[in-house]
């Protein structure tokens, strides 16, 4: 067989629009996922056993079930509780929650890597547990975790393709639409794959650049 990409060219602008939605969804999800993940990670280490157990269960469940099922529960399941969310909103919530499970575990590791002496110095300087966490521990932990959170962003760019199952017109969904019009399946998904690769590569390289800058300063 021969590949003929010319059939796709008229639809490239649609694919780019889809890529834009993918980027938006990933950015929003990495943002909310990191916020929620930092909270969960911090709760994961509080000196109150029941709270720790709840945070641990949350992480365990999120990481132990497929993202697709989590998306379905939010988009198709919640309406039975009377909660109808627009597809894009449901998708962002699903991705964010999913991501928070992974970020939570990264944050826990980052917090535990901060030396015990930092807690002790904070305590004798009069800082409460929460203030110690906020001003001393998390700033150090997050700095150590930035590379891992960057990876999480790259992962989200790829995982966001599952949003196509909620009929959100992100890159994968648009790819399916283009294929159904052009019948050029192979060519379409090669192009879609290349666009994903460009997105993840640009993200990785930018993050590495930022990381290097950060280390120097």
């Amino acid at each position: 067989m021969t590949l003929d990409f010319s059939a796709i060219v008229p639809y490239l602008h649609m694919l780019f629009a889809g890529a834009k939605v993918t980027i938006q969804a990933s950015l929003l999800s990495v943002f909310f996922g990191a916020l929620l993940g930092i909270l969960v990670g911090a709760l994961r280490v509080v000196p109150v056993a029941p709270v720790r157990a709840i945070a641990a269960s949350y992480i365990y469940i999120i990481r132990g079930t497929p993202l697709l099922i989590q998306l379905f529960l939010i988009y198709f399941g919640l309406p039975s509780l009377g909660l109808n969310l627009p597809a894009f909103t449901a998708g962002i919530i699903g991705l964010s929650i999913n991501s928070s499970g992974y970020v939570g575990e990264i944050v826990r590791g980052g917090i535990e890597a901060v030396p015990k002496g930092q807690w002790e110095a904070s305590k004798v300087l009069g800082l409460s547990y929460l203030k110690t966490m906020r001003f001393i521990i998390l700033p150090q932990a997050i700095r150590n975790m930035l590379p891992a959170i960057g990876n999480e962003f790259v992962t989200l760019i790829k995982e966001s393709s599952l949003l196509s199952t909620l009929a959100i017109t992100e890159l994968t969904m648009v790819g399916q639409q283009v294929r159904s019009v052009t019948y050029a399946s192979f060519e379409t998904f090669i192009v879609v794959g290349i666009i994903y690769l460009v997105l993840t590569s640009v993200t990785s390289f930018s993050l590495q650049y930022v990381e290097r800058k950060w280390k120097v300063s």
Partner: protein, 278 residues
């Protein structure tokens, strides 16, 4: 206050006069009994050095006093306030007692100035302007004004420890505890830190200094405690402890130390002090 080891348990009125009052303190880690019935009283403005072999419970004693460790039984009073329970906030304790660690424990993500101003602003509620003004005065006192914007990783060990002392003083505590403040330092940096501590002693601060710097302990302290196996085995005026210790355990420890520190520790007119005290 150059009395010997076996003190009677002080009365309540004594507790309200002392800066630090420890009564019948027991502390264990699991089945390991680390402090066994320690009683101790430190007067306002008194400088007490604590010496003794490694593992004898010196750090644990200091950590109990600043409430980094929960105690198993006994009582701790700071300026007459019972502080060993959980009825006081970290803030209340920090206003009474500051602690200096062997490993400095500066906040590496903050500048020197922010290390000093964080607690005064966040805990004492000082304005940023006032906190910075205090901090600069303290940095001047430890000779590090020009390092205000440096990060801890840009400082030498001696500079770090001086910043840590300034940071503790920024909370304006009534008591300062030092847990081997120079043990992590290169030998040539020890002097600058000891100078700062000596200056603090001269200013009338109540201090408890855990140290292996015997010459320093002898010069700076009003009283020396010798600890072994979780007990205060002997205490008294530094001249007496270093020149004519009575308890064999103390004698043995100091003999070993003399190998390191040379004979000057016991030379001079100290034998006079011996005869005088004995």
């Amino acid at each position: 206050m150059s009395n010997n080891g076996s003190e009677t348990i002080p009365s309540d009125s004594a507790a309200s006069q002392s800066a630090i009052e420890v009564r019948r303190l027991h502390k264990s880690f699991g089945s390991l009994s680390v402090l066994r019935d320690v009683s101790l009283s430190v007067g306002e403005g008194e400088v007490v050095s604590v010496i003794g072999p490694s593992g004898s419970g010196k750090s644990t004693l200091a950590r109990c006093i600043c409430r980094l460790e929960k105690i198993n039984s006994g009582e701790i009073y700071l300026y007459g306030k019972r502080t060993d329970g959980s009825s006081h906030s970290n803030r209340d304790i920090a206003r009474l007692v500051g602690m200096i660690f062997q490993q400095f424990n500066l906040f590496p993500h903050l500048s020197v100035l922010d290390n000093l101003t964080l607690s005064p602003i966040r805990i004492l509620g000082l304005s940023r302007g006032d906190a910075v003004e205090n901090a600069m005065a303290l940095l001047k006192r430890v000779g590090l004004e020009e390092k205000r914007n440096a990060r801890p990783n840009e400082l030498s060990g001696g500079q770090c420890q001086r910043v840590a002392i300034a940071r503790a003083l920024a909370m304006n505590p009534k008591i300062m505890l030092f847990d081997e403040p120079t043990s992590a330092l290169d030998p040539e940096l020890v002097g600058e830190v000891l100078d700062v501590i000596a200056g603090l002693a001269d200013s009338g601060m109540t201090m408890m200094i855990i140290t292996h710097e015997m010459m320093f302990a002898k010069e700076v302290s009003d009283r020396v405690l010798f600890m072994a196996d979780g007990n205060i085995v002997e205490q008294g005026h530094p001249k007496k402890i270093f020149s004519c210790p009575e308890v064999p355990r103390t004698q043995l420890f100091l003999q070993r130390m003399l190998v390191h520190f040379g004979k000057e520790l016991t030379e001079g007119d100290e034998k006079e002090a011996c005869r005088h005290d004995a």
